[in-house]
C-alpha cells in the first residue's frame, strides 16, 4: 500500500519542484519538450533513493532535533526567531491524535536540512554566485544529475553533536564568518562584511546559555557525577533508584529536558545491571548457605567479583576525570568539564556489554550448582563475538577449577570429594558385592556439556575401579598404578594442571589412568582371585563338564532322590557328593575349589520327588560375586537343572537297556515256542525295544548338541573375549554373553518357552516309559519262569485238581496284564511320536538360535520328515482321486 502512495506523492513532489511548462515555454518550445524527460528521470532518481535502505545516521530524537535547530537559530543571531520557533514547536509537538503528524522528528529533520541548504545557496549566490552556480548546474546542463550531496552537505546532521568550529552565517543583509576558536578562519573567497560583530555574538551566546539554563535546573556536571554514583548502585542527589520503574531515573522534582532525562536513563542501565550482579554475590556469599551454592557457585561468585573489580577501576578513573576541563575546548569564557553525558555514553558502552553478560549469567545460574552451573556458562561461551568468548573463558576457568579438581581426585585417588553434591558421579552406600554395579552412578544433570558422555563414563569407571580394589579386593597396588598414570599423563605434554578448555588433556589423563587401573583390576582378578579357574570349575561341576563325576553322583544319589522330597536329607546327599568326588577324577582338583561345591535343596511342594529339588551350587565370595551375582548364579542353577534332568533321562534309558539285555535269549525263547500268547508277548517286547531305541537316539543327539554345540562353543568364545577384555565391565559383559548364549541355545530362554515345555513333557514321557518297561520285563520274566517249570506245573495240576481253575485264571490274568501293558506301551509310543513331531516341527521356527545341526542330527535319515509328509499328504490324495477318476472315464 505504502509504495503506491509514496510513488504518487513523489511524482507530485517532482512536478511541484520543477518549473512548470508554461514557465519554460517562454524560453523555448524545445526546452519545454525536454521537461517531461527530465521529470521522468528525476522521478526515477527519487524513487531509487527512497528505495535504498539507508538508515538515518542520527538517533531518532525529536527533542534533540528541536534543540539543535534552536541553537542554530541562536548562533545565527536570530534569538527572537529561536524563541518563536520554540513556541511553534511546543504547539506542534503538543498535537496528538488523528489528522496530525506522527513522524514529527522526520519532518523537523527535513526542514532543518533544507534550511541549511537554502542558507548555503544564499551564501553562494551572493558570494561567489557566478562561478558556483555554473559549476553546480554544469552536470545538469549535460543532461545528468549532479552527484549526491558533496561533503559540505554532510556536515549537516553532525553539527548538532559537537559545536561547530566555524560556520557561515547569514544575518539579515550582512554576511560574516564567525570564528569560535582563537585563530581566524580562512574565508576562501567569501566576502566578509563585519558590522558590530562582537556585540551580536556575545548577545547570541548569552541568550543561548540562558535558554539552556532555563530548561534545566541541574548542571550537566552534577548529572554526570550522579550517573557515576548510579553506576555503582548508589543513589545520587538527583538520580535515584525507582522501585516501580525498576531503574535509575532523574528525580521528577527537578526540571530537566526530556532528552537529558532519557540519556540519563540509558546510562544508568549499567547501574541497574551492576546492582543485580552485586546482589547475587551478596546473597550467595554473605548470607547464603554453603549447601545451596557449593564450591562451583563460590568460584563463580569469586570470578564475578573479579570482573566487578575491573569495572570499579574504570569507574574510579571516570570519577577522577569528572572535574578535569577539556583541553583546548573552551567556548567563550565558560569551561566545560571533560565528561559530558554523551561522552559517558561512549565510555560506558563496553562495560555495559560486559555487565549485561554477567547479569544474564547471574539469571541463568540462579538455582543451579556444580556441573549444571558450569554447563550453563559453557553454553554462553558458544558465541561468535570474541569479547563474549574471552569473558566466558575467563569465568569458566575459575568456575570449573573445583570440578576438575574433583575429577582429578576421583580418577587418581578414588575419593568422592563432593560434600555439596556438585559432581556428576554420585555414590550410593551399598554392600560390597553390589559396589561395582550399583555403587556409583552418573548424574546427567550435573554433567557439564563440555565433557562428553563417553569420557564421563570412563571417569566413572576409573574411580569405581579404584574403590572396587580398595573395598572388595583389599588391594593397595592401585596407588602405584595411579602414580604411573599421573607420570605418563604429565610426560605427554601437560603438567598435570587441568582447566576449562583443556578437555583433551583431561581425556589423556583419564584414559591413561583408566588403562593403568583397569589393567590392575584385571590382573588382580585373574591372578589373585583366579577368575579363570573358577569359571572352569563352574563349567565342570555345574554344567556337567566332568563326566565321570556326574556319572558317579547320579549312581549314588539316584535311589535317595526317588524318595519324596520331604524325606530326603541334604546331609546325606552332601556325604554322597563327597564320595562321588572321591570316586571320580574330581579328587585331583584343588581343595579350594572343591570346598566351594555344595548340595542345594530347593524349596519343594507336596508330591515333589528328590529329583525335583536336588541341585549343586558353587559358592563364590568377594570380589568374584561382582561377576557372579545372585542373578547369574540363578541362571547357572537353571542350566544345571536342565542338564541334570537330561542326564537323568539318559541314565534312565541306559538302565532300561540293562534290564532288557539279559532278556534277549528270553525273547528268542518266546518266539521259538510258538504259542500264540507268547508270540504276542514277544511282539510287545519288540515294540518296547524299538521305542527305547528311538528315545535313546533323541536323547543322545540332544545331549551331543548341548555339550558340543552349546557349552563348548560358548566356552571357547568366552575364553577369547576374556583375553580381549580391557576392563571389568568388558569382563562382566563377556561373561554375561557367555551365560546368555548357553541359556538361549539350550532352549531355556524366554523365546523358546514352548519348545522347552515340549522337551520337558518328552522327558516325563521317557521316564514314564522307563517305569513301564521295567514292569513289563518283570512280568515277562515271571511268565517265563512259569513256563520253565511247566513240568512241575503238570504234576501240580494232577495233584491239586481243585486248584486248576484258579491257576488257569492266574495264567489268563498274566496274559491279560501283558496285553494291558502292550496297550499302554502303544499309548506311550503314540504320544511320544506326536510330541516328538511337534518338537521337530518347532525347531526351524526358532529364529534366534542356530538349531540346524540339531534337527539335522535328529532326522538324519529324513525318517521323520517322510512320516510327516505321509500324514499330511494323505487327505490330499483323497482329494485327487476324483480328478483321476474323471480323467480315466
Amino acid at each position: 500500500m505504502g509504495s503506491k502512495e509514496v510513488s504518487a506523492l513523489v511524482r507530485e513532489l517532482v512536478y511541484r519542484l520543477l518549473p512548470s511548462k508554461s514557465e519554460l515555454e517562454q524560453g523555448g518550445a524545445d526546452r519545454a519538450g525536454r521537461l517531461d524527460a527530465i521529470a521522468e528521470r528525476a522521478y526515477n532518481y527519487a524513487v531509487r533513493i527512497f528505495g535504498s535502505r539507508i538508515v538515518p545516521s542520527i538517533i531518532n530524537d525529536e527533542g534533540a532535533m528541536a534543540e539543535s535547530i534552536k541553537r542554530q537559530l541562536v548562533l545565527q543571531g536570530r534569538s527572537s526567531d529561536a524563541l518563536a520557533f520554540a513556541d511553534l514547536h511546543r504547539r506542534f509537538s503538543a498535537q496528538i491524535g488523528p489528522g496530525c503528524v506522527e513522524n514529527k522528528w522526520a519532518l523537523l529533520y527535513v526542514l532543518r536540512s533544507l534550511a541549511e541548504d537554502q542558507r548555503r545557496e544564499n551564501a553562494e549566490t551572493r558570494g561567489i554566485a557566478g562561478s558556483l552556480t555554473s559549476t553546480l548546474s554544469g552536470p545538469a546542463s549535460h543532461g545528468g544529475l549532479p552527484a549526491l550531496p558533496a561533503p559540505l552537505d554532510r556536515t549537516g546532521p553532525c553539527d548538532n553533536l559537537s559545536p561547530p568550529k566555524s560556520m557561515v552565517v547569514s544575518n539579515g543583509q550582512m554576511l560574516k564568518v564567525q570564528n569560535y576558536g582563537s585563530t581566524s578562519f580562512p574565508s576562501g573567497g567569501v566576502l566578509i562584511l563585519s558590522k558590530d560583530t562582537e556585540n551580536a555574538k556575545a548577545s547570541a551566546i548569552r541568550e543561548f546559555v540562558e535558554l539552556c539554563q532555563e530548561e534545566s535546573e541541574i548542571s550537566e556536571g552534577a548529572l554526570v557525577r550522579d550517573v557515576l554514583y548510579a553506576c555503582q548502585g548508589i543513589d545520587g542527589r538527583y538520580v535515584k533508584f525507582e522501585k516501580e520503574l525498576d531503574g535509575f531515573i532523574v528525580d521528577e522534582a527537578f526540571r530537566v529536558p526530556r532528552a537529558t532525562r532519557m540519556l540519563v536513563r540509558k546510562l544508568c542501565e549499567v547501574g541497574w545491571l551492576f546492582r543485580k550482579v552485586q546482589q547475587h554475590i551478596d546473597e550467595s556469599i554473605k548470607q547464603g548457605h554453603m549447601e545451596e551454592i557449593g564450591t562451583v557457585g563460590q568460584a563463580f561468585c569469586a570470578s564475578l567479583q573479579e570482573e566487578l573489580s575491573d569495572y570499579y577501576r574504570l569507574i574510579a578513573v571516570l570519577e577522577a576525570q569528572v572535574h578535569n576541563p577539556i583541553p583546548l575546548m573552551s567556548v567563550g569564557n565558560k569551561v566545560e568539564n571533560y565528561l559530558s553525558l554523551r561522552r559517558l555514553l561512549v565510555w560506558l558502552a563496553e562495560p555495559l556489554v560486559r555487565m549485561r553478560l554477567l547479569a544474564v549469567l547471574v539469571d541463568d545460574c540462579k538455582g543451579l550448582k556444580g556441573g549444571a552451573m558450569a554447563g550453563a556458562i559453557h553454553m554462553h561461551a558458544q558465541h561468535g563475538a570474541p569479547i563474549v568468548r574471552s569473558i566466558m573463558a575467563r569465568l569458566l576457568v575459575r568456575v570449573c577449577s573445583p570440578l576438575f579438581e574433583m575429577v582429578r581426585r576421583w580418577v587418581l585417588e578414588g575419593e568422592l570429594d563432593d560434600i555439596y553434591e556438585e559432581f556428576f558421579v554420585v555414590g550410593h552406600p551399598v554392600k560390597a558385592e553390589a559396589l561395582w554395579r550399583e555403587g556409583y552412578r552418573l548424574q546427567s544433570g550435573m554433567l557439564p556439556s563440555f565433557i562428553p558422555e563417553s569420557l564421563a563414563q570412563r571417569i566413572l569407571r576409573t574411580g569405581k575401579s579404584i574403590n572396587f580394589l580398595r573395598v572388595c579386593c583389599d588391594d593397595h597396588g592401585w596407588a602405584e598404578a595411579a602414580r604411573d598414570a599421573v607420570a605418563a599423563a604429565s610426560n605427554s605434554g601437560n603438567r598435570g594442571g587441568l582447566g576449562y578448555g583443556e578437555t583433551e588433556a583431561l581425556e589423556v589423563m583419564v584414559v591413561e589412568a583408566a588403562r593403568k587401573i583397569d589393567g590392575h583390576v584385571l590382573k588382580i582378578m585373574y591372578d589373585q582371585y583366579r577368575l579363570r579357574d573358577h569359571c572352569l570349575a563352574i563349567k565342570r561341576y555345574l554344567l556337567l563338564g566332568q563326566g565321570d563325576f556326574i556319572q558317579y553322583l547320579m549312581d549314588l544319589v539316584g535311589p535317595d532322590l526317588s524318595q519324596p522330597a520331604n524325606t530326603v536329607s541334604s546331609f546325606k546327599l552332601a556325604g554322597l557328593l563327597e564320595s562321588a568326588i572321591r570316586a571320580s577324577n574330581a579328587q585331583y582338583d584343588e581343595g579350594e575349589i572343591l570346598d566351594r561345591l555344595r548340595v542345594k535343596m530347593m524349596p519343594y511342594n507336596d508330591g515333589d520327588r528328590g529329583w525335583d529339588v536336588f541341585s549343586l551350587e558353587y559358592i563364590l565370595r568377594d570380589p568374584l560375586n561382582t561377576i557372579f551375582t545372585e542373578a547369574v548364579m540363578a541362571n547357572y542353577l537353571k542350566v544345571f537343572n536342565f542338564l541334570w534332568r537330561l542326564k537323568r533321562v539318559e541314565h534312565a534309558l541306559s538302565a532300561t537297556w540293562q534290564t532288557m539285555k539279559p532278556n534277549c535269549s528270553l525273547a528268542r525263547l518266546f518266539t521259538s515256542s510258538g504259542s500264540a500268547e507268547k508270540s504276542q508277548v514277544a511282539a510287545i517286547l519288540r515294540r518296547c525295544q524299538t521305542l527305547r531305541n528311538e528315545m535313546n537316539h533323541f536323547v543322545t543327539n540332544l545331549q551331543y548338541y548341548i555339550m558340543f554345540e552349546v557349552l563348548e562353543y560358548s566356552w571357547a568364545k568366552f575364553l577369547e573375549e576374556m583375553e580381549d577384555a580391557q576392563d571389568l565391565d568388558d569382563l562382566i559383559a563377556a561373561h554375561e554373553r557367555y551365560l546368555t548364549s548357553i541359556i538361549e541355545k539350550s532352549l531355556l530362554g524366554e523365546r523358546s518357552k514352548l519348545l522347552c515345555k515340549t522337551l520337558c513333557s518328552l522327558f516325563d514321557l521317557i521316564l514314564r516309559f522307563r517305569a513301564l518297561a521295567d514292569r513289563l520285563y518283570e512280568n515277562a520274566r515271571a511268565v517265563q519262569a512259569r513256563s520253565d517249570s511247566s513240568l512241575r506245573k503238570k504234576l501240580e495240576r494232577e495233584l491239586f485238581l481243585s486248584n486248576t481253575s484258579r491257576k488257569a485264571a492266574s495264567m489268563d490274568f498274566t496274559v491279560e496284564f501283558l496285553k494291558g501293558m502292550g496297550d499302554e506301551m502303544d499309548g506311550v509310543a503314540a504320544e511320544y511320536s506326536s510330541l516328538f513331531e511337534g518338537f521337530i516341527a518347532q525347531l526351524p521356527v526358532q529364529q534366534h538360535v542356530d538349531l540346524k545341526f540339531l534337527s539335522f542330527r535328529l532326522d538324519f535319515s529324513e525318517f521323520y520328515i517322510r512320516q510327516h509328509m505321509n500324514m499330511s499328504t494323505a487327505p490330499l490324495k483323497l482329494k485327487r482321486t476324483p480328478i483321476k477318476a474323471s480323467r480315466s472315464s
Binding site: E5, I49, Q95, S137, A140
Partner: protein, 71 residues
C-alpha cells in the same frame, strides 16, 4: 470527527509552514504538504532532504539554461 481531523490537519500544516518559513526553507505550502505526507509514509528524512535538494538544483539548472538560451 471528520471535521475535527481536517481542522487539526490544517492547523498542523499551518504550524509546520510557519516553522518552515522561520527556517527559510523556501518550501511553499503545497510542497510542504507533500513532504509531510512522505515523512508520514516513513520515508527516510535524510533521503527526502537529498531528493528535494536535487530537484531544486535541477529546476534551477533548467531555468538558467532556458533563460540563457532564450535571447
Amino acid at each position: 470527527m471528520e471535521d475535527g481531523m481536517n481542522e487539526r490537519a490544517r492547523e498542523t500544516l499551518e504550524l509546520a509552514y510557519r516553522m518552515s518559513n522561520l527556517l527559510k526553507t523556501g518550501l511553499d505550502r503545497s510542497t510542504l504538504a507533500v513532504v509531510m505526507a512522505l515523512t508520514e509514509q516513513g520515508v527516510n528524512p535524510e533521503a527526502l532532504a537529498a531528493v528535494v535538494k536535487e530537484l531544486r538544483r535541477e529546476a534551477a539548472a533548467l531555468r538558467s539554461v532556458s533563460f540563457s538560451s532564450a535571447p
